[in-house]
């Protein structure tokens, strides 16, 4: 039987260490909503999402109350819209119309985001893929709760450099369209390489075509819990790596078990099968809920100091090792997130001059997911952004992992300024970008071939 110290430990994690379930994301297939008529397609999309997800928020809140664990977000991911709209959309504006329908139904069912205004173009773009991509700036400017993502490469296909180059322009255009809101649109737009089909975390969530009709995916969190466990561990003196790894693993196990419980309950109550648990440590701007703080506990003065990449690699691996045993199905991104604006410790490191984009890029080699929520000067060129995307995609492609870029070229801001996004998106200092050009490189058309899968020395 459960004893009092175990109960107190769990409740301490929830009350003082920010343990929460970050998101319950319902994946919904919209493949059967395709129609030759745009209005009919929109109606079908609206009705299907409403029918399946109308109880999502209520059920999430009920589980949170009964188990006493906060469930921060209730969200939806959908089949990439470029596919759903391919028979009815004749122009980018048609895709914007679908996006507005999605925004409306998101509001009606009460979720804060729907992810899946997406196109998967890792090898080539169809006409419709391109229309959707070109619709993104307008679509994100005219809606509130929609997240867009574009998959530009994979280990199996290589990198579609035409799409990379186009995304440089699209990110700039999105920043311009939302310039009155500190270019907020770009915070809802992510460019991915090797994107998983079952990721519950925004902005890169979509319901892949390999998925079932509907599933429940859950993203757990708890950087604060790991941090406290490490602090406690070191109270008895500087622990060795074995103890360090063991502590992270144990904590990750406990955190993930809560996620597994919530996922199973949600699946049961919503009559939708359980998909996966995403083991990512996702920070929030709240003090103490920070991956950067864990790195500091492991022993670097600031994230960015030498040793940071190794510390992060260790953290990421131990979280997976602990989490994998706690859940039957693990998927999504599963790793430590290192967004800048959403993590107070990362913001501090940037402001202290400890952390630059180049070091962040190195860190993305060993963790999920990529250059995330980084504000860059508004005058950064589309070519330079395309170069950043190409670099990050190459890391993902070669290392067979998911990588992503979510940068915000904030119109009218330059290095030294700060941008306020509000809520979970936090605030960010504008970071310097390498000023040298890569125009000739990204202007070449075609694609970078897939890497060789043998001779791995």
């Amino acid at each position: 039987m459960i004893n009092i110290s175990e109960v107190m430990e769990t409740n301490k994690m929830i009350e003082r260490e920010h343990l929460d379930v970050r998101t319950i994301t319902m994946g919904i297939s919209l493949l059967d909503c395709a129609d030759a008529d745009l209005n009919e397609c929109c109606r079908k999309i609206h009705d299907k999402i409403y029918r399946l997800a109308n109880n999502l928020v209520h059920t999430g809140d009920e589980i949170a109350r009964q188990f006493g664990i906060p469930i921060v977000n209730k969200r939806i991911s959908i089949t990439p819209v470029s596919i759903v709209g391919s028979s009815c959309c004749k122009s980018s504006d048609d895709y914007v119309t679908i996006c507005r329908t999605l925004d409306q139904v998101a509001q009606e069912v009460g979720v804060n985001f729907i992810g899946g205004f997406s196109a998967i173009v890792s090898k080539g773009m169809t006409r419709n893929d391109e229309m959707l991509i070109r619709a993104i700036p307008k679509a994100l400017a005219q809606t509130e709760r929609i997240c867009a993502s574009v998959v530009v490469g994979s280990t199996k296909t290589g990198i579609n450099m035409d799409a990379v180059s186009l995304m440089g322009e699209v990110i700039k255009a999105t920043a311009r369209e939302t310039s009155d809101r500190d270019s907020l649109g770009c915070a809802k737009l992510v460019v991915l390489c090797n994107a998983p089909d079952d990721n519950p975390f925004m902005a890169g969530a979509f319901h892949g075509v390999s998925e079932a009709e509907a599933v429940i995916n859950v993203g757990v969190s708890g950087p604060g819990v790991v941090k406290h466990a490490l602090q406690q561990m070191d109270e008895r003196g500087l622990a060795n790596f074995e103890t360090l790894c063991e502590t992270i693993k144990r904590t990750a196990f406990k955190i993930t078990r809560v996620g597994q419980l919530v996922a199973q309950e949600a699946a049961k109550r919503l009559h939708v099968p359980f998909g996966i648990i995403d083991l990512s440590l996702a920070p929030t701007p709240a003090i103490g809920d920070s991956v950067a703080d864990i790195l500091k506990c492991i022993g670097v003065e600031q994230p960015g100091a030498p040793g940071t990449t190794a510390a992060l690699a260790l953290l990421n691996d131990q979280v997976k090792k602990g989490g994998v045993m706690a859940s039957s199905y693990v998927g999504g991104l599963s790793g430590a997130f290192i967004p800048v604006s959403e993590d107070q410790g990362m913001i501090d490191a940037v402001e202290a001059g400890a952390l630059a984009i180049e070091k962040l890029e190195a860190m993305t080699c060993v963790c999920s997911v990529g250059l995330d929520m980084i504000a860059i000067p508004g005058n950064t060129s589309a070519h330079t952004i395309a170069g950043i995307i190409a670099d990050e995609s190459a890391i993902g492609m070669v290392n067979q992992k998911t990588t992503a870029v979510r940068v915000i070229p904030v119109v009218g801001k330059s290095v030294g300024d700060t941008v306020e996004f509000g809520g979970l998106l936090g605030h960010a200092p504008v970071m310097a970008v390498n000023p040298f050009a890569c125009s000739r490189f990204v202007s070449r058309t075609g694609r970078i071939p897939a890497p060789i899968h043998s001779f791995k020395n």
Partner: protein
């Protein structure tokens, strides 16, 4: 409620009659107590009860709300959570 077990935790400054008040409420609501443990840490009262909801006709939310009121009247914080969350976290 169907056959479900919950954990009630009571935390606050120690005063006379905390257990009595909580138990009276549970008895009046038809909730069976299966186990109680209690400690005092630096003048702070910590109690945990494992209870069985199967005989009560009250809904979980109502019980949680009413326990809040009992807690407020006694100057302690009372939380009610389904047992599964602790079981899952601490047992393999």
């Amino acid at each position: 409620m169907n056959n479900q077990r919950a954990i009630i935790t009571v935390v606050g400054k120690d005063t006379i009659g905390i257990i009595a008040k909580v138990c009276t409420y549970l008895a009046d609501s038809g909730i069976n107590i299966l186990d109680i443990s209690q400690t005092i840490v630096q003048d702070f009262f910590n109690m945990m009860m494992i209870v069985d909801f199967s005989k009560t006709d009250k809904e979980f939310d109502q019980i949680a709300d009413e326990l809040d009121v009992v807690g407020a009247n006694t100057g302690v914080q009372i939380k009610c959570q389904l047992e599964d969350i602790f079981d899952k976290m601490h047992r393999i």
